[in-house]
Assembly symmetry: C2
Homo-oligomer: 474 residues x 2
């Protein structure tokens, strides 16, 4: 149970906290924009100052430039507060960078001029992830000001490139193991299953991202003069993509499912009880009916526990208005494969490359470029920190915590697991319709208030567990 | 045999003719460009004046605006010279509009500043079609100045929108039947089979052009959060395109080949004797080996006598650098089908639409837009005007004329056949490597000189045949 003083403190400070969060939301901290002065740097500096005022030791660290045409990486923030040596240490992760706001014309208010309407805070980053992160800063302040000091040692890792797939984070973390070492970790960059159902995410899918180019004639050629004599790269690439699934929706790459670990029957039964209406979900995406994925699995199972292969983009030849009768010189497709435990991105990509080689017809030169990968993550449901989080959520939101999965990848989760030897707790307070990557992103103020209570309760619960118990759980 | 005076006249006037043709080539008369003043109108006016100086009655006629967002159609030119009522009338077709010159950076000299280098005239339109058309104007002048007057009545139809698929021509011709009526017709917008092999094209493929859109979720959605639950429009469209051919390269649309008229065995044997090197042809297109089309046919047969289905363009989702993990909201593909006698574009399109309906999976709304069609054309090889043309070519180029086919469509050929009841002669003097739609388009001056001799000889031959004989042939 949270000390009542902390609850009162957080209730009394709502206006100040909201106004600070709105300051934080004013920075257009988009990671793939290069500007001078750089709003990402300005945002990170604001956070360093804010954390320092909370009494944390905070600093801004900029990873080395990356890529062939070097791009200035965005700074990360490391912060810490040491209470005493025998207290457990909690690592809190969040990110301050945000998605680009396009299409701007669909926003009802400026994405970087935060506005409260009907109990919701509208701004780019309100939910993803500045708002979710800020709940932790509120909780830290409440313990310090009203709880007699922090119940645990705290470390913060605040990333600046999450929305561009964390290209420098793994290396950065590997270089700062000592500063990141902890007994438990929490990542708040996820959603409730539904309003009123506080949720902990126990598994994330991995990712293998590839780009296939089929090259035919060295320039576009006339489809009348040469059609039938020369292999059309678009026809051929489409045939390859078409062949990647069979009629049952299964991916046809040799050995693709070999390492897939199916969910336990008990877990499937739990999911079946979640209040999930496939019709309503379809309507929320603007489709008449669901589809995709393998036959024989529910939509939740297909999103959470089955691997997928989706084209993310394709382009070739003439795509303007009207007609142009050419056989395009080349065709390109981008494909993301979502992987589940126990699949290995490297092995999957090798299989994919063999598939492409086997489906490259005469007259075509094919190339496969690998542009990203992430390992799938499975977290223990019954670890002490997971239980501590479930209880904190229940206390703050007054409802039982659901253990769910997520079909997306959050690379830091796997880095924490592999580099720090910790199963992080994925405890977020977003709601499914926050629109984190869409116009009019918003965050419910009630989720912010209760989220800060949950964050505070979690600090208390972890403190009570102690280092020894937490160690058993890992 | 041509009167020697005509041969001498044409020899003596080469400099003047070249310089006039270069004037004509200076107009950037690109049909899909709207400009003021309009270079297409200026080019057409130049031609009207030039034809008037030749003593023809010439006028510029602008078709009505076209399309939903009305586009100003480019003017056509009608011209005529009446010699006497009992002389046969020859209709000569050419077009003054040209392909866009992009990519400009690949041109060695400005596309609209004609330049002679090593016996070749370099300019956009040099071969397609200003140069080929100009040979007829030279021939008309030669007969008038040195042959004692024209041996036939002459009508000219010079189009301004050939390179954008003649969107207004059929209606225009239907509205000017009287002005176009003739006993024979010649179209000079085609190529020799190879240098030194004067050629008459006896068949053109038809065209059915369609655009398929697959629509899924109403915006792009996250491929991690939703992948597996929602049908991916790109996956689905690629599967549709892949299913359009079987492993033998045959098109799988129900009934697609029902009306196909195979070439006669005698014709296949003639083609097999043509000096065609598949390896050299492949190299000229920049591919290691040929492909596409149906197994069991030679490359020439696949280009000339078999129908095809080629994607001309495809686009969906994210196509920039790097990765973006989305399920795109929609995907679009442009497809041209080349048809052979006896296929009907309307019937083919109906079959295509049924195929799309049968390959639209749950969760996708499909749309098929038809953006063009042309009927295939087969011309009689043994008609009097064809023989007159074969002899004229032989006299001018000193080699036997080959009867070949062309895989492309020249819509006016079918309009002349259907609206005027005439089998036009497709007698062009381009060479296969002129690069008519590519940078550094050029026209061999030798083809211009000899082409004008062939045009003059053809006028003489048609005049000698007389109206009655020409009628028998149609």
């Amino acid at each position: 149970m949270l000390p009542p003083a902390i609850v009162h403190y957080l209730q009394n400070r709502r206006q100040q906290h909201l106004s600070s969060l709105m300051e934080l939301l004013r920075f257009p901290s988009i990671a793939n924009v290069q500007a001078s002065p750089d709003p990402c740097v300005q945002c990170a500096q604001w956070l360093v100052e804010y954390l320092s005022k909370l009494g944390l030791h905070a600093e801004l660290l900029t990873p080395a430039s990356v890529g062939q045409a070097p791009r200035q990486a965005k700074p990360n923030i490391l912060a810490s507060a040491h209470v005493r040596d025998d207290a457990p240490t909690l690592l809190i992760y969040g990110h301050y960078d945000v998605q680009p706001p396009d299409p701007l014309e669909l926003w009802k208010s400026d994405p970087f001029s935060p506005q409260v309407r009907d109990g919701f805070l509208y701004a780019r980053g309100a939910s993803d992830d500045k708002g979710q992160l800020f709940a932790h800063l509120m909780a830290l302040e409440a313990w310090q000001q009203a709880g007699g000091g922090l119940p645990v040692n705290v470390k913060l890792l605040i990333e600046g490139e999450e929305e561009i797939a964390s290209p420098t984070l793994e290396k950065f973390m590997a270089g700062h193991i000592e500063q990141l070492k902890a007994d438990a970790a929490v990542i708040s960059d996820s959603e409730f299953f539904a309003p009123g159902i506080p949720s902990l995410t126990t598994s994330l899918r991995g990712l293998a991202y590839v780009e296939v180019t089929f090259r035919g004639p060295d320039t576009d050629v006339h489809s009348g003069l040469h059609g039938g004599a020369v292999t059309n790269p678009v026809n051929a690439l489409a045939a390859l993509v078409g062949a990647l699934h069979d009629a049952q929706g299964r991916i046809t790459i040799d050995g693709f499912y070999d390492d897939v670990l199916p969910p336990e029957e008990a877990q499937r039964r739990t999911w079946a009880k979640l209040p999930f209406d496939e019709g309503r979900y379809a309507a929320s995406l603007g489709v008449e009916t669901l589809g995709g994925g393998e036959k024989g699995y529910s939509a939740l199972e297909r999103r959470w526990a089955r691997p997928t292969l989706d084209c993310n983009g394709i382009v070739a030849g003439y795509t303007g208005r009207g007609s142009k009768t050419i056989i395009p010189s080349q065709a390109l497709v981008k494909i993301s494969m979502r992987l589940v435990v126990n699949q290995d991105p490297g092995k999957v990509i090798e299989g994919f490359k063999r598939f492409v080689a086997g489906h490259t017809p005469p007259g075509i030169r094919s190339e496969v470029k690998v542009s990203g990968g992430a390992r799938p993550v499975m977290l223990r449901i019954d670890s002490p920190s997971m239980t501590a989080a479930a209880e904190a959520l229940q206390e703050a939101f007054g409802a039982q915590t659901a253990f769910i999965r997520c079909g997306a990848s959050v690379p830091v989760t796997e880095y924490i697991q592999r580099l720090l030897g910790l199963d992080a707790v994925l405890m977020g307070w977003g709601l499914p319709d926050d629109g984190p990557h869409s116009p009019n992103e918003h965050f419910a103020l009630e989720q912010l208030w209760r989220g800060s209570l949950a964050a505070a309760a979690f600090l208390g619960n972890v403190g009570r567990l102690g280092r020894a118990v937490l160690k058993i759980g890992t």
